[in-house]
Symmetry: C2
Subunit: 430 residues, 2 copies
Amino acid sequence: VLQAYRLLEDRGKIEARPQSGYYVRTRFWKPPAEPDISRPATTSTKVNIGDMVLRFTQQVMRPDVVPLGAAVPGPELLPTIALNRLAASIARRAPRASIGYDLPPGNERLRTQVAKHMFNAGCELGPDDIVTTCGGQEALGLCLRAVAKPGDTIAIESPTFFGTLQLIELLGMKALEIPTHPRNGVCLDAMRRAVDRNAMKACLFIPNYQNPLGCRTSDDCKKALLKMLAERQIPLIEDDIYGDLPLDGPRPKVCKAFDKHDLVLLCSSFSKTLAPGFRVGWCAPGKFRDDVIKLKLYSTLATATVPQMAIAEYLATGGYEHHLRKVRKAYGENIERMSRLVTEHFPAGTKLTRPAGGFVLWVELPAGADSMRLYDRALKLGISIAPGPIFSAKSKYANFVRLNCGLEWNDRVERAMETLGRLIEEGASA
Amino acid sequence: VLQAYRLLEDRGKIEARPQSGYYVRTRFWKPPAEPDISRPATTSTKVNIGDMVLRFTQQVMRPDVVPLGAAVPGPELLPTIALNRLAASIARRAPRASIGYDLPPGNERLRTQVAKHMFNAGCELGPDDIVTTCGGQEALGLCLRAVAKPGDTIAIESPTFFGTLQLIELLGMKALEIPTHPRNGVCLDAMRRAVDRNAMKACLFIPNYQNPLGCRTSDDCKKALLKMLAERQIPLIEDDIYGDLPLDGPRPKVCKAFDKHDLVLLCSSFSKTLAPGFRVGWCAPGKFRDDVIKLKLYSTLATATVPQMAIAEYLATGGYEHHLRKVRKAYGENIERMSRLVTEHFPAGTKLTRPAGGFVLWVELPAGADSMRLYDRALKLGISIAPGPIFSAKSKYANFVRLNCGLEWNDRVERAMETLGRLIEEGASA
């Protein structure tokens, strides 16, 4: 029966609704094919996408645009009032602590709650294994600096999060892009060849709900990857920022859960699930803990105190799991609607990922489409998208765009997708 | 008459009380002599004090010790309740903004207030000249990375703030220590020789209320310094974190006020005056603004939103100037009491700075005293101090200590000073 359901789903006759079941579609549609596995260059390269990414990051969060660009959750999906109430109450009850420094490794209650929460991801961490940071971006940067120096080569998925690429660029390191499958994650065969051929200093991967692909690496692949890296003592920086956001099923395990050699530096934050503006992230840097703490002390000294305390309190008492169920459902519905709009409005030949979690879609437009041009033209019409080239060290993916589905759905979004479709058609015929 | 007052003051017969006048001392004392100008090596050097500083930073803020080590204002001197109330009220009134990112250059209202405030320091800045940061430490690091690369030489005062030394160490840069006078600041003649002899990429100075010396560079010297640097296009990173804390007289001007060539990167924060745990700092990076913004984006993405909004509101409506008058008075009284205790309890031959602002004292113990040993022994007895060697790239100043006077005065402080005196005497005879 399940196979019959899947077949019907593949044909677009029915749709799965998370936590609910299969439903007959009101209007039949067949999702387009998925993109192929990526084929980046096999040599490492300096990253030089800084100005493009800078322009994108500064424009993409303008409040007046339909926010299909940045992977930022819509504020109406966040437990804003609860978090702000907790913050106010903590500051009132513990004024001295709230105004003072909370030096690295950071707020103890938060570290305890994070360790507890990560038990769901297969990790047996204690509070002392965790270092809190000013968001996930600081965590990634501290871990990178702890394991590598300027000139060193870092293996990354292709495509990958532009913030990682920017870090590599600004730290004067080199990127080695590994072929990555839009459903299975980083290709282990390619990885093995890369490890044999290159002086790889570290890897920085997003095994759970990769950004922008949305894929989850299986537990078997995670184990095989770690085994390969352990043989060569290559550290893995694991970005798990989307790990709490499966579209279906349980919270996946992290690589860190299978890490027998203390080589995984696990990084995450609450920016995708609770409060981007609180700037609270964390890492579990394994044997690199002392280096990470030293780097943290002299980069930002400490993370803001009250935001850490408020998130700790929310994790302890606020119903984080309940909140996650709610946003996962919203993201799942949005991804389904957005996929349908891509199918309706984008040209024939467009390909589309089937994310397993997170809230972004990676769209391959027909060959010849220019997503940088599309980005500029769409922005003028009040729509932001993320153009493909910012996800590559070598500005590949010219005909790809990433779409954010972590927003509040409304008519503006539907109209924006229509407009994008029109712009792409125009671009193709121009 | 004024000269007579000063003479009596020098002899310890009377004391000046800020905002009040001269008073006959209840108990006569003569402050010890001031330390001489420093004489660091004339060549640049790699910095290698990391583990010493790490140990210090992690131990020094233990809540159970008498806090003479870290230069952190006592929480009872801070407007904690007012700030926390503002934060709560802002989060209630603007929930969406409070939970969202506030991307670089950072919160506009805060940038407007900072620009306005710095008019008092002789600066004509607009909101767009300012970039907000996760505390002063991030501001210094971003500015350093914007103007110099690994291997480059940075001129610094000697002694100087260990956080600066650590930044230089972690960024793989070299430090060139410039002789610095405990009352007049960096020696311009020595600076000229250093500039002529060395490939100096940038300077990082604390012209107002230098840490640990407490001295203020005169406006004439500031102008002369800038002229010298402009001739060679050498940028100056100006750390003005203590600038709002003169012990007497008006708020001094910053070098930035005399900067005709846009070469000054002015850095500061609210950690010494309002709220260390809010982690709100800022910089005005002149022509390096775009680089600083790019580095900020990929170091921490953004500064926590509500802390920025709360400080902006406090600057606009909370009576910041009134608060500053209050803490300056407290710091002045503490410095006076602490100087007297040094005179009473420390061995003959001890020398002592006369800070013009800020809230630290720099104490030169008799030759042979070992401040690292004193640090360890004092910590065991529940007293923290800052040992001299962490203020030098080459671990000089073995017989110096820095004492924090930004604390709530009580009997424990007086007893701690007695104990320190005893430990120093014992160390000297051991």
